[in-house]
Symmetry: C2
Subunit: 346 residues, 2 copies
């Protein structure tokens, strides 16, 4: 089966995914009968291009990393902007990986709508559209009988949505808590080891862990968005990002961390969502937790999500030391789920 | 859709599952279109019975708990033994939950074979058959075009096999480590808090956590069996329980635990499986690990499994404070997977 792919946004994640696809080409053909061809790429700074014959994705990644225009690719047809790409492309699956807009998640929402309306399956690693428009977008996908997957929006490729949907049937998620922002957790745990806030932040940025705008991480926006996504998808909530009680990590001092450590505690930025008599309450707050606990033991860029359920008690899922490869894996796992949904296994 | 159920073994787990089915009857009918009828129950001490009209499962659980024979159930037809039940019953799904036999996993393996050969789907929470005969049983199930699921054999209802099979496509498990035996972990962590070995063991037994024969837990047999199951299912191994290097917790002293604690460590019984030049090496050993780590922070009856993978790095799954309800959930999730496989969702 041939699937034609398109990319809206071609940053770190999409480029890492491109390399995985190139490395695993024969594996994907052999194990999944998948032949992939990329016929559309839209970027904000390196051009928007279409191709009838299919791009060399590794070459595209290299050009983009060198700051060169994708119009240098063989057989590329330039088009004016991402929406024009979506309207004119011939693709089966579109990967939306533009950067987070915390105000209204645009233009990503419009990209996804345009693609679904054209009958294109959509995969996104952008949490904005799910935080702001989950119900609208899933309804639109169902109406068009297309897949809309977003495993990469929380904890990279670690199965979170798939875990609940595919492995916890008949189970209701009552509440959750988690460490969801790698940059903040890296900074807090590096500061525990004696680094300054600034040096720890530099490390996150040089490793490509921090969001394009690191303020989103540090001020708790990223964790808040993810908490809203989890609330709306896993708990059937109708939450909006503006209702999250949100606390960033800017004011944590080495002294705070040392004092906590002396009593066997760690300070962590913890996202929580719980049902109250007033509805669902979502918070992203600094908390002192026992160092030897499921939350306190999570160090560096690692993440954890603890789900309190009705039938299965509390289960947790942990992602240890993720890098951009793990987000790339989210796109691959969503692609393979589309493959399965288009032609179910015997 | 009506599914007729049978039980071979009707201990704590099967009885807890019976109560879940009774409590969720209308939910399962509404959400999954499932109408369930139990037409066969085999026990070692309370009789083996068939029914054409279907048993009252809650009544059956009560009789069994009162030490009374199941032949007291309305419309019950007594048969001599479990194999006779399997040969003569009219069921679609058989739940094999007899107790663990660490020598050769019999008679459970024969029960499962007999059922699959009669075209009956099988669910088991008994790790013996998977540790000793995984390949043979899955081959037999495939030949008969029947489901054979066993999510409850490791970490109760926490998705372990489903996680890897359904949520980590294209991923290879390279190695794993985990805390897999609740009784041992409860004893170690209670001893850390000052309890004696004997009092901690009594607690595990009174809570129904310990295996019928607690020696299997304490001497590491249970964890070893689970490690073999994980190795063979998740890593494509061909391991046999006899090859596990196994260390129990009998000789751990309060002094050992206190000394570890003074340097920020915890002693845990850790199961590991890793690929070496000699093949796959499986161990269940006492290890000193940092208290504030994914392994060291797991306390009481909680379990954890850390999977090192090729494409997704390291991910972990945690089950916090499980009881028998969580093992009952494993049977439910396997039943719902059979439901899905018999009639896939639209």
């Amino acid at each position: 089966m041939e699937l034609k792919l398109g990319f809206i946004g071609f940053g770190n994640v999409a480029r890492a995914f491109s390399r995985v696809l190139a490395e695993r080409r024969s594996f994907l053909s052999r194990e999944y009968g998948l032949e992939l061809k990329t016929t559309a790429i839209a970027t904000s700074n390196h051009g928007c291009v279409l191709s009838a014959t299919g791009f060399d994705l590794v070459k595209a990644a290299e050009l983009s990393e060198q700051g060169l225009s994708l119009t240098n690719l063989t057989d590329s047809l330039p088009v004016p902007d991402p929406l024009a790409v979506i309207e004119r492309c011939d693709v089966d699956v579109l990967f939306e990986t533009t950067t987070l807009n915390v105000v209204d998640a645009q233009p990503a929402i419009n990209h996804i709508k345009a693609a679904l309306n054209r009958g294109i399956h959509v995969v996104t690693a952008n949490k904005g559209p799910i935080a702001f428009a989950f119900n609208e977008l899933t309804t639109l996908a169902a109406k068009n009988n297309r897949c809309f997957f977003f495993e990469g929006t929380v904890m990279d490729g670690t199965p979170v949505f798939n875990l609940v949907e595919r492995c916890l049937p008949a189970t209701r998620v009552l509440e959750f808590s988690g460490i969801l922002n790698s940059t903040s957790n890296l900074i807090l745990t590096r500061m525990e080891s004696g680094l300054s806030f600034e040096d720890a932040l530099s490390e996150a940025q040089s490793r490509g862990i921090a969001e394009a705008n690191a303020d989103y991480d540090i001020d708790g926006w990223d964790a808040a968005m993810k908490a809203v996504v989890l609330t709306n998808v896993l708990m059937g909530g109708q939450a909006h990002p503006s209702q999250v009680t949100r606390q960033g990590i800017r004011n944590v001092t080495a002294r705070d961390l040392n004092e906590a450590a002396r009593s066997g505690k760690s300070i962590r930025q913890i996202a929580r969502s719980a049902r109250t008599s007033e509805g669902i309450e979502i918070t992203v707050l600094l908390e002192e937790v026992p160092a030897a606990s499921a939350l306190g033991s999570v160090r560096g860029t690692s993440n954890v999500l603890l789900l309190e359920t009705d039938l299965m008690g509390e289960i947790g899922i942990v992602e240890n030391d993720p890098g951009v490869e793990q987000t790339a894996y989210a796109l691959l796992s969503d692609l393979l789920r589309i493959r399965e949904s288009v032609a179910p296994p015997d």
